[in-house]
Point group: C2
Chain length 236, copies 2
DNA sequence: CGTTAAGTTGACACGACTCAAAGGCGGTGG
DNA sequence: CCACCGCCTTTGAGTCGTGTCAACTTAACG
């Protein structure tokens, strides 16, 4: 399986062979994590940088009323705690959704990358800024669209992001989320997620059997959702 | 007037006298911008890094249905386009709200800071990560709270952020936003913003005359809003 | 003062939430 | 291998928060 981090970074950044080799060498030893398990909790102090190699994970916060709010998905190639040593403690938690394969990267390795591999440094900056841009887009999505378009927009984003790292085809992508998790992500109730999904299926915008979503007409779904992929800052 | 960037950075980072001196020297020539004017539009390519020294500005996006969504406020001490030269084009726009004083900083200056002032580099990283954390908190706020608490939470954040840079007192802060802008920020209609503000006033949680909000009991408002300032990562 | 933008109010409609209960599907153990 | 059990999904009915439309009042500004 090709390295998802390299796939992702190269969709918008130029890397030299030695950069790729260095990134490959990072993922020497991997660790498997069970599904629905916390990687780190709010208030904890992370000690290493972690990278998701395979599986779905999410960032979340819990409100005082007990409601959970998912504020980001970590797909293969995404970093968990890039803040290490700059922000003292986590202001949110990270949990797996599916079984995940992750790599732990030491501070020393990160420092080496920053000092000796300027193209990688730049690419990691790019990744951080794209994360930020994605948060802004989520804000727009959740604040400004009706529920059906929220779901459609999220699907468009997941489809594209998974495609970038070779985990989705032209017309389908895996979706291991429960309807409750979709609701916690989009700020709508589980029941309403269910009804909206049915509507999208009836309208032929998606098919949704098992844990896979099929999108018969990607352009149509994007049009419906008002999805503009510019915020992911991929090369054309 | 003390330099708001230094005030902000020093609330969580250690700077040496030479760092402060270097940061002071940056703001040699300032520029004034009229209120309600675009600083940069979506799709444009920024050429310099800009810093807000005084005034209110905001980041925003416009949906396909014409609705505007405000995805962040720029207060004194905040950077506009730190992405310069990493992300090719803007995925959102930036506009002033009040008259603003800004500084334009050349790439050369940024490079100099990064190479010769490691404490400043680290502090600027901190600022970027706090921006990201703030976006996550906004997502929680807009996705998971009823309208009255959304407004209260935003007020708590603005109050604290303005205090940090010396623009707010113990119990009040300036709020130059129209109710329409508040609605565009929180994803609720102008009419509903109006009713919610009245309710908050009736409940004695805020007073709101002119362009100043007074908070008689900060702890009570925070309690009501479920506001936890940890995401701003300030030193205690 | 005239003119315009911002704030306020009321009536009504509708999207989304809650509660509650029934069906389906997958996983585990006997 | 089948049966059970729990989680997820699906449905229905009723409620409530929030949106829309439209008019009116107040404040801002030249």
């Amino acid at each position: 399986m090709p390295n998802p981090l390299i796939l992702k970074l190269e969709r918008a950044n130029v890397l030299a062979p030695e950069d790729r080799a260095r990134l490959e060498s990072i993922i020497a030893q991997t660790r498997k994590i069970a599904p629905r398990e916390d990687l780190i909790r709010e208030g904890e102090v992370p000690d290493t940088v972690r990278l998701v190699l395979d599986g779905f994970a999410c960032r979340y916060k819990v409100l005082s009323n007990g409601k959970r709010s998912i504020v980001g998905f970590l797909l293969p190639g995404d970093f968990c705690d890039f803040h290490v040593a700059i922000l003292s403690q986590m202001d949110h938690a990270i949990a797996t959704i599916t079984p995940c394969t992750i790599v732990e990267i030491s501070r020393a390795t990160i420092d080496d990358l920053n000092e000796n591999f300027p193209r990688i440094t730049r690419a990691l900056w790019w990744a951080t800024l794209v994360d930020e841009a994605t948060l802004r887009e989520w804000l727009v999505n959740i604040g400004g669209r009706p529920a059906d378009k929220k779901v459609a927009h999220l699907f468009c984003e997941l489809h594209l992001r998974l495609q970038v790292v070779g985990h989705a085809g032209e017309n389908s992508f895996p979706l291991p989320l429960t309807q409750e998790e979709l609701g916690d992500t989009l700020g709508i109730s589980t029941v309403h997620v269910n009804r909206v999904l049915q509507q999208l299926r009836e309208d032929g915008l998606i098919q949704h059997q098992g844990r896979v979503v099929t999108v018969p007409d990607v352009a149509r779904l994007r049009e419906f959702a008002g999805f503009n992929p510019n915020y992911l800052h991929l090369k054309p």
